[in-house]
Structures are given as C-alpha cells and as structure tokens.
C-alpha cells in the first residue's frame, strides 16, 4: 500500500502526496514541536520538511513502513535543526558549564504524570539542553553525531545531556509533588 503511494508520489501525483501528508502530518508536528518552542515555527518546519521530502522522494528506495518513517523523521529533525541555526535558537554551548552539574542520585518518583505533561516538561527545557536531549534520548543519535550536527564537541554534547537530565528530573519531582498536593 505504502509502496504504491510512494511510487505515485515519485510521479508527482498530488493526491498521493496529500495521502502521505495526512498519514504523517500530526505525528511529525509533535516531533517539530519538541525542537522549536512556538507552534507557528513548528508548522513552518513541518511544511518545509515535507517540501524537501516530496522533492527528494524520487531518490528514496522504499523497503518498509519503518524505513519510510525513519527517512521522514530524519528530514524533519534536520529541518528543525536548520531552523534553529537560522534563527540563532541554539545558544553557544560550553562543556565547562555542564561539568559542574550532575544529575540527582535520588530515585525518580513513581511518575503518574501522563505523556502530555511529560512532553510539556521537556518543552520547558532550555533550547540547548532540549535539543541534545531530544537527539540523544528520542532520536537515538550518538554524541558524535550530535556533535557533528550542532558543530560542538562530544564533551559538550555529553555535558548538555547531563544538564538536561538533571533539570528534567528536578521538574518531574516538582510536578509530581504539585500533583500530589492537588489530589489531597
């Protein structure tokens, strides 16, 4: 099914392009929203990402649905990073700052927060932390790949990730505590 859809998209069929867009638009909108702060920016990144995907789809060799989704996700993430670079959304990141900050050794509370709330906490992270955290934890990039994408060193990527984890843990504990208070 998807293979025929991809073949039609490769021929420039607008109907097939719309079907592919409808299939993945919401999912990748959430991906874009993890990298950029505002919804308007996320829409712009999504549109540009699909535009690049449809223009480059003639070179794409379809194997399975997972491969198609991974290809599209990579395009979206690259577009989001490019958007952050263009808008100077990525602050200058230095490893010395992060080394001093270590994550809390205390165990995580039994999180009863729903997925939407956790996503909102991730979005509250500073842009540098959030970007590295997203790339490492959710996209599965290595520190070397992240360093190559963001033009930083491996140590900087590691330190940014450590800081992101520590801050997110702190936010999770705080959110959990507030939720408990609301329940009581």
């Amino acid at each position: 099914m998807d293979q025929q859809l991809i073949e039609q998209c490769q021929r420039g069929n607008a109907f097939a392009q719309k079907r592919l867009f409808d299939q993945y638009a919401n999912r990748f909108y959430r991906v874009c929203l993890r990298y950029v702060r505002h919804e308007q920016e996320a829409e712009e990144v999504l549109m540009n990402g699909f535009l690049k995907a449809f223009r480059a789809i003639s070179d794409f060799a379809y194997r399975d649905e997972a491969g198609l989704e991974a290809w599209l996700r990579r395009i979206m993430v690259n577009e989001a990073l490019q958007h952050l670079r263009a808008t100077r959304g990525l602050p200058a990141m230095f490893p010395e700052e992060a080394m001093a900050m270590e994550p809390d050794t205390a165990p995580l509370p039994d999180s009863q927060l729903n997925a939407e709330a956790i996503m909102e906490l991730v979005r509250q992270l500073p842009t540098g932390y959030r970007t590295v955290f997203n790339l490492y934890v959710l996209e599965g990039y290595s520190h070397r790949e992240i360093a190559g994408q963001l033009n930083i060193s491996d140590n900087t990527s590691k330190s940014q990730l450590s800081k992101a984890r520590a801050l997110l843990q702190e936010l999770l504990v705080k959110q959990e505590h507030e939720a408990k208070l609301r329940r009581h």
Binding site: K18, L51, A115
Partner: protein, 249 residues
Amino acid sequence: MKQSSEDIDQVVRQAFQSLPDTPPPGSAFDAQRVWGQLNRELHPAKPARRLAGWWWLAGMLFLLSGLGWYVRSVSSGSPSGHETVALVERATPKQLNTSTSRSGNKKAKEQEGEGNTATPETALLKKASTANRQPVVTRNQSAQENIRIPEPPVTEIPAAMADQEMVVTTEVSPPEPASVSEPKVLAKTKPTASKLRFPVVHVNEWQAEEDVKTSLHRSERLVRLGTGSHSFDTPEPPQLQITIPQRIK
C-alpha cells in the same frame, strides 16, 4: 547515578511512544491549512494562469473585433439601399433596357421563360416574400420584373351613358422603374398604390376644374419668345450708324 539517568530516559521514551497521532490538546494546528500552503509550493499554478491569460486576451480581441465590425456596419448604414434609391431616381427605361439586355443572370431568364407576366403587384409580392431569403437583389433581375408596364384595363361604358359627352381621365400611377431598388424598399410600398383609377367626371365639372387650374397657373397662357439662351450680361452699346444721304447733284 547511571541508573537514575537511564530511568529518566526510559520514562520520557515511554511517554512519547504513548502519545497519540494527534496535535497536542489546545493546539491550533490545522493539517489541511498546512497542506494547502504545501500544495501551492509543490504545484504552482503558473501554467494555468498563463493559459487563462491567453484565453482572456483572445476573448478580448474577438470582442473588440466584433464590436469594431458592428460599429462600422452601423455607421456606414446600408450603402446598397441608398445606392438603389439614387438609381431609382435617375434610371430611365432606356437605361434599364440596356442594363437588362446586358445581364446574363440566369434567374431572370428563367423567370422570363416561365412566362411570368409580372405586374407590379405580383412583382412586389414576390419581392416581399423573397426578401428574407435574398437580402441583396440583383439589379438586372428586379429591373426585368418591373419594366413590364401593365396594360390599362378597358372600362366599358354603359350604353345608357354612351350618348352623353364624357371625359374619362385615368390616373395611372407610373410604373415604378424602381425595379433596381432593394426588396425592402419595394416591400414597404403599398401594392394598392399602383391600382388604376378611373374617376368618371361630367364634362361640365371637368371644364370647371380646368378653369380653376388655369386660374391658378396663369403663366400657362403666357408665351415666351426667343430661345431663352439670352445672357443678361451688359449688352454692348448699339453702334449707331448714321448714313448721311449724299446730295444729289
């Protein structure tokens, strides 16, 4: 420490995997709106606009040419109609005869061959009936049809009135040599106008009318002398010749 880091990574991964494929609650994201913008980028409508532009231009040219033709035709009127009217006024039967003799129109010959002794009335009726089919009538055909002057019908005078002195005046409308005119012009003229009228007038009444006419036009009794080619230029003074008689010796 590592355990804690992996825990938080796991919590976040699980949370994101459980998220539905819908925009976050409270989001104003509209996939169709974004697709509309994307579709415009993917399939720009420039060729269609160009095509529409060409069609528009062609339509405008056609409209302008049609308008120009209409204005020209209206401003010039019907030149053939005016021409025929002028010809009606000028044409003499002789000219018409010559024109008919020259004509090689088959239709005219056919009609002649059919023994169509057309009176002006029939000619007019024919013209009127064929006016729609033949907007332009050839000069020769119409001339041939209308040149035939009908013979005035003979009126029989009753025997009782035979002994009386009668003057019969016939008012015959002149057969219109307007045979060359357009059928529309001929159709407008009433066929009844060409009917012959024979007013029967007593001789005394006729005499009275003649007296009135003569009184109205007194110049009829005047006689003009000379050729009429006299010029009113200042005449040369007459040269007086004085002849002196010679003395008789």
